[in-house]
């Protein structure tokens, strides 16, 4: 193997350790979609504008089309597939369902993953902060209105969940 063209990488994807040999030019989005068959992450532009490909790398939201798989060697990746725990949906998923925050659902994974990162660091955002956080995600179907309601409500649900977790720990 020419190390300059192919590399062995080891990543943790949604909690599972994965070892693969990849072309160095393979984007991480294509890696998780076409090599790991985690197809919940989508590609809408492949030039870093639409946000459909957003995933978490070491807990931070990144554009999967603008990062190489080899750059994630040793990192932890989280995709939309990690959100629900078995039958239990993630609070953001519930909020999006309840507020009709998706139509075709193509942009949705990117939006959810963006929010997971953003709300973890800003649990009580102002409306304008929440909008700014979502300004890097294009949606052609919803006109954003219900995405915004869902995100607001999702933030609230996450706060409640956080509280009840605290209660349990106490």
């Amino acid at each position: 193997m020419d190390k300059r063209r192919r590399r062995q990488i080891q990543v943790t994807v949604n909690g599972q350790s994965v070892r693969r040999e990849v072309d160095v030019r393979l984007t991480v989005a294509d890696f998780i979609r076409h090599e790991l068959f985690l197809t919940g992450t989508h590609l809408g532009c492949e030039h870093g504008v639409c946000g459909a490909c957003t995933i978490l790398v070491d807990d931070r939201a990144v554009r999967g089309c603008l990062m190489l798989a080899v750059q994630t060697d040793g990192a932890e990746i989280r995709t939309v597939e990690s959100l629900a725990q078995g039958d239990t949906a993630h609070p953001l998923q519930e909020a999006f369902q309840d507020h009709h925050g998706l139509q075709c659902g193509y942009c949705t994974a990117g939006i959810l993953m963006t929010l997971v990162d953003f709300l973890a660091n800003n649990p009580t955002p102002e409306e304008s902060e929440l909008k700014n956080a979502l300004s890097g995600n294009l949606c052609r179907c919803t006109g954003y209105q219900n995405i915004f309601s869902a995100a607001k409500d999702g933030a609230e649900r996450l706060r409640i969940e956080e509280h009840s977790d605290d209660d349990i720990r106490r």
Partner: protein
């Protein structure tokens, strides 16, 4: 839209990186990748080699040094915006960062990457220009310093050699009595600027003693509005003075593209410069 083939290297120390690029021709340095990766995906570029700087941890830092703040070139925009040191010492940079891209791109995008990519519409080079930043550039053989003002040579072409790496950026911190403002006009939140204006302005006894005004988006490189600066120094920042100073700004180069004509850019520069000056002057007055 998939990147073309290239050889990939990811040195884990600066020294290793410098050695490596001294031996490669046609290597492209990969910093945050938020501009380079789209260009690769669109195949606007097909470099023989990519040297990825992301594993060089020593290039990620922010520290206070004498009366300066020194930032490692690979520090991400996200880390910068969150750094208490930067928030405290370089409010102009923080304001500029609020216009840079989106959450996801700021996670990866770096200060050094943005300065070297030198997109004329990008915010960080403009802020660095207004703040009179100094850039430390290293090659395997030598280290040199270059003022941000001398860095751009022409359109998206910085004064840096293929075998060199921008390692750190030093921002002098001004004493009290200085106000800052960053104003930008973009069509959508997070877009590149059609015009951006960064101002750093000091007052003493109500008079402007120091003014730096930088403009982005206007021409082929980020520019200083020198005539404007000159017109301010020694004056009281009253409305009529600011109006006049902006009007005197005839030394800015403007270009036309799909987003705006030269005339519209000039018009916007006048509007934004005026806003930024008022805000910076007001802040300077309250600080002094």
């Amino acid at each position: 839209m998939k990147p073309p083939p290239f050889d990939y290297y990811d040195p884990s120390s600066l020294e290793e990186g410098l050695q490596l690029i001294s031996t490669l021709d046609e290597a492209k340095l990969l910093a945050g990748g938020q501009s380079l990766m789209p260009m690769l995906n669109m195949r606007y570029l097909a470099p023989q080699s990519i040297v990825d700087l992301n594993r060089i941890e020593e290039l990620r830092f922010c520290r206070s040094e004498n009366s300066s703040v020194v930032i490692g070139a690979m520090t991400t925009q996200r880390d910068l915006a969150a750094s208490p040191l930067i928030r405290e010492q370089l409010p102009l940079l923080v304001e500029a960062l609020s216009h840079v891209g989106h959450l996801q791109t700021r996670t990866r995008g770096t200060l050094g990457g943005s300065i070297c990519h030198l997109d004329p519409a990008a915010e960080l080079p403009v802020a660095a220009l207004a703040l009179e930043a100094t850039l430390q550039v290293r090659s395997a053989k030598e280290a040199r310093e270059i003022a941000m003002g001398d860095f751009p040579t022409f359109y998206m072409t910085p004064d840096i050699m293929p075998a060199e790496i921008l390692t750190e950026i030093t921002f002098p911190v001004r004493a009290a009595g200085t106000g800052y403002a960053f104003e930008e006009f973009a069509r959508r939140h997070g877009d590149f600027a059609i015009i951006s204006v960064a101002v750093s302005l000091s007052l003493e006894a109500g008079q402007v003693t120091y003014a730096r005004v930088a403009v982005g988006g206007a021409g082929s490189v980020p520019q200083r509005a020198k005539l404007l600066e000159d017109a301010l120094v020694g004056e009281r920042p009253e409305d009529s003075v600011l109006d006049e100073a902006v009007r005197l700004s005839t030394d800015i180069e403007y270009i036309a593209d799909v987003h705006a004509t030269e005339e519209y850019r000039r018009h916007l520069f006048f509007v934004l410069a005026r806003r930024a000056l008022t805000r910076a002057a007001r802040q300077a007055a309250s600080e002094s």
